[in-house]
């Protein structure tokens, strides 16, 4: 048995606003909410002294104490269950999955307890379940998941995934204030991406859950997407612009409940749509959106709605395999060219 020695290391309080990456934006958001509201607390594995595997919760324990920054055993079921129990008492838990892949170990309590409490007996579970998702970082089959499709068929869970630092902060704050359970997916490839570093406002702002945004305006074609694929779509749009194709990129931001009016309006304007996502194609959210477009925008469509997703395989590890697995800019460009020919 060794003597436990805690290093004297204190992270300073993050400034409000200023230049921030996506991970810094989320940390700012959680920090500000914990300062604003004493019922907000953090629970998860290694979230305390260590500050979380990706340092999202770095420094919180020094400022808010171990009663509000709770390190747990490796028990996702206990994390989700305890978050639900605390929410019943009026607390606002921000529960972390170290990687969103491990959400499967908390699946039962999320889908059966958190999601159904309000419906069954009026006890809304106001809790955030957050963690790093996404592939493209050579992390292999167990640290690369996009989990949204597991939960889209469960009524009672909101699902959010930001693609900018501004949205990340505004959405995490909105998620913490939301009266219902919110799954908050953070694409780990975006955490420290210099391209996403931006100036955040110094005021207390939220980004409303359930509202998409236009990431790029265009006339000829809409790419409906979210998360890291927003960048892929924007890069494809830039390339297509050189070919004279004016592409609109719609960032869903919230996957449940879907902002139907936003993408219906966009597609009714452009008359052509690609749904792009990083999760496997079969059973992905792309199918749902394509079905909505077929049902509700049929008369406005000038071409088939195309889905672009990853392969129907686990996420492979080796770079050439993973690159083949993931949708690439060229896949989007090719699909757009085909649609343009209609």
């Amino acid at each position: 048995m060794s003597t436990a020695v805690k290093k004297e290391h204190k992270s300073p309080r993050p400034e409000r606003g200023g230049q921030a990456t996506l991970v810094e934006a989320i940390r700012q958001g959680i920090w500000e909410e914990m300062e604003r509201d004493p019922t907000v607390f953090v629970i998860g594995q290694d979230v305390g002294v260590y500050g979380g595997a990706f340092k999202v919760t770095d420094g919180l324990i020094d400022h808010f104490g171990k009663e509000r920054v709770i390190d747990t055993p490796i028990s996702e079921g206990a994390i989700v269950g305890a978050a639900c129990g605390a929410a019943l008492m009026g607390m606002k838990p921000v529960a972390e999955f170290q990687f969103i892949d491990f959400i499967s170990a908390g699946f039962d309590l999320l889908t059966n307890y958190a999601a159904k409490c309000r419906y069954r007996w009026g006890a809304g579970i106001s809790a955030v379940f957050r963690g790093p998702c996404g592939s493209g970082v050579r992390a292999g089959p167990f640290h690369s998941l996009n989990a949204e499709s597991f939960f889209l068929n469960t009524a009672g869970l909101k699902i959010v995934e930001p693609s900018t630092a501004y949205d990340a902060k505004g959405l995490i704050k909105a998620a913490i204030r939301d009266p219902d359970p919110v799954l908050f997916f953070e694409h780990k490839k975006l955490y420290r991406l210099p391209r996403l570093r931006e100036q955040l406002p110094s005021d207390d702002y939220v980004v409303e859950i359930g509202k998409a945004r236009i990431a790029r305006e265009g006339r000829d074609l809409t790419i409906i997407t979210f998360g890291a694929m927003v960048l892929t779509a924007l890069d494809a749009a830039a390339e297509l612009e050189r070919e004279g194709l004016d592409v609109e990129v719609l960032d869903l931001r919230t996957l449940a409940p879907l902002d139907k009016p936003a993408f219906l309006t966009s597609v009714k304007k452009t008359n052509k749509a690609i749904v792009l996502h990083e999760a496997s194609r079969t059973g992905g959210i792309g199918g749902e959106i394509a079905a909505i477009l077929a049902e509700e925008a049929f008369e406005w469509l000038d071409a088939p709605v195309l889905r672009i997703g990853s392969l129907d395989t686990p996420v492979p590890y080796s770079p050439p395999l993973e690159d083949y697995y993931l949708p690439q800019i060229k896949d989007v460009v090719e699909a757009a060219r085909k649609l343009a020919a209609y």
Binding site: T3, R68, G81, W121
Partner: protein, 388 residues
């Protein structure tokens, strides 16, 4: 282990100036299973009664009898309603094991929380939920606490300290752990009791929840009702331990074994465990040894039960018989008084059942409401086809 500890101590001495461990180490754990109120064979020729080693007043002892009768008679009424096809789902009985739920819940204070299992109707009633709510739930009525959205005791009342279970066994253990974590942050003091069965203890959620509660030293009392069957599966196919209380060792918490058919013993053991938890001792496991005389639900023919087993328990170890015998032998109550209790309880059940039967079924469109807070997200109505 001991030599390791000595070496550690010597090392610390040798390296003075090195930072010392900040947390007080826990005492080396020794298996602690109290069997003070465990089942005992009665002296030859004597029938089983209840323990006389109790702090309960005579009035409280009589009240326990009332709750036992209330539980059994509510369930018998539910069976009648089921046979009249007025119950929409199944009926789950606690026949023969009512004392565990009643005695343990009776030991709690008003601010304490319980989460029962389906066979703990007694605990729900002791916590102050009215029989009419139970009848309305079983009959899927609009006036039931869940408005027809969920079954039986699957609802909750935070004011009364009752949190309904879900069908997924074990899930409520981490939920109660979360309740207690919140209480610690809110500087509230209460104990939470979670019921589990010999089957439910095999789930991952049970393990994760109890382990976490033990690590955090939260005042969680887990009552393991060892009623011998999980649906049709006997305990021998569920676990390799003989006494479920042995499992406490794996969590570093103390345990009690109690005669689950002795309502007073169940009270005393739970009171003791709750006090230990309330004092800051942390989680406790109680194994209540009992027997499920009915099947999993009313449709279950119990073909898996050995011949004569149910009859033996009915004849020799019925919790209500034992309580009645105790009250009469100890001259705490007369047979007349006990008859009056049954009459009073029956009248309450008649009234509450009539109320529940008079409730309408819910309006169909209620199904669309309250998935989310409808101030923020519209109800999930069935979409109109091809209308924009």
């Amino acid at each position: 282990m001991v030599s390791d500890a000595i070496m550690d101590k010597n090392q610390n001495k040798a390296q003075t100036g090195k930072p010392r461990r900040r947390r007080r180490p826990r005492p080396r754990f020794q298996m602690r299973v109290s069997t003070k109120y465990a089942p005992r064979k009665p002296p030859e020729g004597e029938a089983l009664s209840c323990t006389t080693d109790t702090s309960l007043t005579p009035e409280q002892q009589v009240e326990l009898y009332r709750y036992l009768q209330l539980t059994r008679l509510v369930e018998e009424r539910l069976v009648n309603l089921y046979r009249q096809t007025k119950v929409v789902g199944g009926v789950f009985r606690s026949l023969g094991q009512e004392a565990t739920a009643v005695g343990s819940a009776y030991a709690l204070q008003p601010q304490d929380f319980v989460t029962p299992l389906i066979r703990d109707l007694g605990a729900v009633l002791v916590k102050g939920i009215r029989p009419r709510d139970i009848f309305a739930q079983y009959m899927a009525k609009a006036w039931g606490p869940s408005g027809g959205k969920d079954l039986n005791i699957h609802f909750g009342d935070m004011e009364k300290g009752f949190i309904g279970p879900i069908s997924h066994l074990g899930d409520m253990i981490p939920v109660m752990t979360g309740l207690l974590l919140a209480a610690r942050m809110q500087k509230k003091k209460f104990v939470a009791v979670a019921y589990i069965g010999d089957g439910g203890m095999s789930t991952g959620a049970f393990h994760e929840g109890l382990n976490f509660a033990a690590v955090q030293r939260l005042p969680l009392v887990v009552i393991a009702e060892h009623n011998q069957y999980a649906y049709s599966t006997p305990t021998s196919l569920q676990t390799a331990v003989r006494d479920l209380a042995e499992k406490a060792t794996g969590y570093g918490i103390p345990a009690h074994i109690v005669d689950g058919n002795d309502v007073i013993a169940c009270y005393e053991v739970t009171k003791n465990a709750a006090e230990y938890a309330r004092r800051g001792g942390g989680a406790v496991l109680i194994e209540a040894k009992t027997y499920r005389r009915k099947g999993h639900a009313e449709h279950d023919d119990q073909r898996y039960v050995a011949e004569g087993e149910i009859e033996w328990w009915e004849k020799n170890n019925d919790p209500i018989d034992r309580c009645r015998r105790f009250l009469l032998d100890q001259k705490v109550a007369t047979q007349k008084k006990l008859d009056e209790i049954v009459a009073e309880v029956t009248q309450l059940i008649d009234e509450d059942c009539a109320w529940a039967e008079s409730s309408p079924l819910p309006d169909a469109e209620v199904a669309a409401y309250n998935v989310f807070d409808n101030n923020l997200v519209a109800p999930a109505f069935r979409p109109k086809v091809l209308e924009s």
